[in-house]
Amino acid sequence: MVLNLSQKLIIYVFLVLIVLYLPATLSAGATDEEEILIDFLWPLYLSLPAAEKPKVALVLGGGGARGLAHAGVVKVFAEEHLPVDIIVGTSVGALIGSLYAAGLPADTIVDMAQHMNWNKLVSFKLSPVGLYSTKRMEEYVTKYIGNKQFDELNIPFACVAVDIRNGEKIILKEGPVAPAVRASATMPGLFQPVEYRHRLLMDGGVIDNMPADVAKLMGADIIIAIDVTAQVGIAKTNNALLILSQVIYIRGNFLAEGQLKLADLVISPEVKDITVSELNRGEECVDAGVVATRAKVRMIKKVILNRVWDKL
């Protein structure tokens, strides 16, 4: 009899722990007035003619491997049917942005981000101007979107690079997309600059890591900026690439401050501890992008609805 009791106790504790799941059932259903109203108004917004809708721009900042979080961001935008009328990117932001602008399904982009590695993007090629060529990056983009020109993309897109001969900020929004993306994502020091239309181009992060102003120039009414900069204070600096990227991002963070003020909303995935070179942490980055964007979906809808409420 005593033994029986003892044996049952263990099973019973598990059963009582089911109590732990009760709060889960309470969370179901629409109980939030704000959410109900947003959900009610959103289809009305979607049914508006295009001319009456504000143009929403996604500005994808640079950040090396951390920028793989952009894949998570576009995934949520696609899932939630959030509008994207303009995409602007720098460096890895240009890479992910070009793919989404070309109409690649978000799930494909996520898959690419989760399986990214340096071999797909660069190859060792000794030269006085850098150790690696980024030609493979151009081939990689071409493999997925073909030889598309900017004006053939589904969503208007631009990316930013710097002409290292004169320090000019170059906005790339015409001609073939793949070489432009490559130029925008070619980090100085280790990677060789890209010859592009009589210019010698390198990573846009050097001059403008968060080109919100470009989105404005392209006619954006609402700017949503995705910030994947490193937390400079905790960044690792134990190899040449990391030191170089640290220098770029110290400057980039400083420059981005002004640009972020142009944004109506900033999404900051939790990737600050990931270094620029850790492409093997793609899944983590994608998840961080999904989580950060999901947390802002309601805010994004509110920002948009605020602009059109009188037309609904």
Binding site: M1, V2, L5, S6, L9, I10, Y12, V13, F14, L15, V16, L17, I18, V19, L20, Y21, L22, P23, A24, T25, S27, A28, G29, A30, T31, E33, E34, I36, L37, D39, F40, P43, V76, E79, E80, H81, D287, V290, V291, R294, A295, K302, N306, W309, D310
Partner: protein, 353 residues
């Protein structure tokens, strides 16, 4: 002679005690069997009553206090549960029983949202037994509620390969990913949980939540129908009504709203949603009535005030509309809805001019 009497007396006592001992044991056996039977039938009051009788006999008081703590907790009486569990700790218990007591006390602290204490209790269990799976599960759930998702995931990963808690692991992982916003992972885990226990309403409801959030209303409806068949709740019918409304099945949506109202007649949201449905059908008067009923139940409902304001605006009662929008501005903690009301006031003012 006196020796003989003394011996005879002693024999009588011995004989009596031999006869009485099995009788007491039998009585205890009957009480325990009755208690267990009641529990099996989920008749918690009867089970508690019988275990209390056993406790009076001082039969393994530690264990009985523990059982009573568990039963009171299952019956939702946390303070009685806590009392018995605390008393159990004062008695002699073996390690498994001590673990059970700590885990149950942790559960009570969790239910009371005393997360620091819950963490302490569950950690006590882990200190006593490193691989005590229930404690990791409890900790994960606490961290989920505290929105410390990476911590929750770490705790859950400890029991990832547990065969005993396969369902609990998958369900908790599903809830974790759902709340974290990682819907794809949540769906995978919840589907796994349903494979282990196809009747789990918690898992089906969590699935419905995700489908609803993803605007996959058809799928959400399917899950909610199942939940409603097992556990009819007003909030479930209301969400079903919303799904149907977004699927443009307004009549069916209204039918489900009525079901929700039947179960929860005082929930103002049911009427507010009814108002939205009529509003969308351009039936401003009926919509206005629904919003008014909603406000009768909750005069602080910003949704109902805005909705009624819209109806009044459509019916050209601009002063009433202005008054309702103005009321929203006086409410607390509804900042965006206030922003919306403010814009409506400005628009009505322009129209008036």
């Amino acid at each position: 002679m006196s020796k003989r009497i003394w011996l005879a007396w002693l024999c009588c006592i011995l004989l009596l005690s031999v006869r009485l001992a099995p009788a007491a044991d039998r009585e205890l056996k009957i009480m325990l069997a009755t208690a267990e039977k009641a529990e099996q039938k989920n008749d918690l009051p009867a089970a508690i009553e019988n275990y209390l009788k056993v406790l009076e006999k001082n039969y393994y008081p530690g264990r009985i206090h523990l059982i009573l703590g568990r039963l009171y907790l299952a019956a939702g009486n946390k303070s009685e549960a806590e009392k018995h569990l605390t008393q159990a700790l004062e008695q002699e218990l073996n390690q498994e029983e001590q673990l059970s007591v700590q885990a149950l006390l942790g559960t009570i602290s969790y239910c009371r949202q005393n997360y620091a204490q819950a963490i302490e209790r569950f950690n006590n269990c882990i200190e006593m037994k490193r691989n005590y799976e229930s404690a990791y599960l409890g900790l994960a759930k606490v961290y989920i509620d505290m929105q410390m998702y990476p911590e929750a995931l770490k705790k859950l990963n400890v029991i990832r390969r547990s065969k005993k808690l396969k369902f609990e692991y998958n369900l908790t992982a599903g809830l974790l990913y759902r709340d974290w916003g990682l819907y794809q992972k949540a769906l995978l885990s919840l589907r796994q949980a349903i494979v282990s226990d196809p009747t789990s309403t918690a898992a089906h409801q969590a699935l419905a939540d995700i489908y609803y959030q993803q605007k996959e209303y058809g799928q959400a409806l399917r899950e909610l129908s199942y939940v409603a068949s097992l556990q009819p709740q007003g909030s479930v019918y209301r969400t079903m009504a919303l799904c149907l409304f977004y699927l443009r099945e307004k009549e069916k949506a209204m039918a489900f709203l009525l079901k929700a109202i039947k179960l929860e007649p005082n929930d103002h949201l049911n009427y507010a949603i009814g108002g939205l449905i009529y509003y969308e059908s351009h039936d401003w008067e009926k919509a206005g009535d629904q919003f008014t009923r909603s406000l009768e139940m909750n005069s602080q409902s910003a949704l109902a005030l805005i909705g009624r304001g819209w109806c009044e605006k459509k019916l050209n009662d601009t002063s009433l509309a202005m008054a309702d929008f103005q009321k929203v501005l006086d409410l607390r903690d509804v900042s965006w809805l206030q922003e919306l009301a403010q814009k409506n006031i400005a628009a009505v003012a322009v129209e008036k001019r």
